[in-house]
Amino acid sequence: MITVLFLALLQLGASQGTPLTGAALDQRTNEIAALLRCPVCQGMSVADSPSTVALDMKQHVRDLLAKGYTQEQILAEFERSYGQFVLLKPKTPVVWLLPVIALLIGVAVLVMKLRKLEAVPTRDPRPATSDPYLDRVRQLVEDK
């Protein structure tokens, strides 16, 4: 049997949770794997991907949970190796707020423009002419 001394685990520090077993371990493994992006897939989570890399990552999540590491510790461990790319949920909620902020700015600009348009005096539909004949015709039409 191959001896694997995974010293990098030391970077994780001491586990801060309770070691999981059985059904709870399965459930938490799937929940955390669903938060990780499969690095060789197109927008799939580690939980959903059948690729060998994703299976290894899922097994690693399972091993860490069994040792008592918390979700935060596990996600931080993957982020250290793969970067924020590996996290399917952004760390900062600002990302979710940006589209709403952009929409509000758009609505504000639209309202300002509409108010400006309302403030502009409506033009006289009858252009002034210097022709007394045309003026007389228009007057007759309006009087009718």
Partner: protein, 172 residues
């Protein structure tokens, strides 16, 4: 057309074209490794064939090139002769290490018998070392300087020029 609308529209258009231009020719799957500039994750793995355990910590003092590969990876077949040739050329100046994951020892030994070998090949049986290095696909290669810091990562099969160019960073 309203002048302010024209200016804002032009600015947005230029910004979008700029983003498009910057992204042209780039692999959308490529991600810069967050490990660059940081100490290489430690590992201690068994060498294929000899059974000797190789500890990364003990390789410090000279640049190390860690190549992740597998026998089921097509581009790894193309890259292998280049790696062997460069390892022979550079001799003791640089330590090459192959790390194979998601593979079997029999297949690796057969591969190395047929195609030659010039440096230790280690088996990462559970893929934990590959995960620690953020490996997505193979081949992927990491260049470590004498202090054991990762200075470069190369995704895909390398040419001799790629090896030399990245090795320069490790030798600085």
């Amino acid at each position: 057309m309203n002048r302010s609308v024209l200016i804002v529209g032009s600015l947005i258009g230029v910004a979008l074209l700029g983003v498009l231009f910057l992204a042209l020719g780039k692999d959308p799957q490529h991600i810069d490794s967050p490990l660059i500039g940081h100490p290489a994750p430690a590992f201690s793995l068994k060498a294929v064939g000899t059974g000797q355990t190789i500890d990364l910590e003990k390789l410090r003092g000279r640049p190390v090139i860690i190549n992740f590969w597998a026998t089921w990876c097509g581009p790894c077949y193309d890259e292998h002769p280049t790696l062997v040739q460069n390892a022979q050329l550079l001799g003791d100046q640089v330590q090459f290490v192959g790390v194979v994951f998601n593979d079997t020892e029999d297949k690796i030994q057969s591969f190395l018998r047929e195609r030659g070998s010039a440096y230790p090949t280690l088996l990462d049986q559970q893929g934990k070392t590959a995960i620690a290095y953020g490996v997505g696909g193979v081949p992927e290669t990491f260049f470590l300087n004498r202090q054991g810091t990762i200075v470069a990562k190369y995704a895909g099969p390398m040419s001799s020029n790629d090896i030399q160019n990245n090795l320069k960073k490790a030798l600085q």
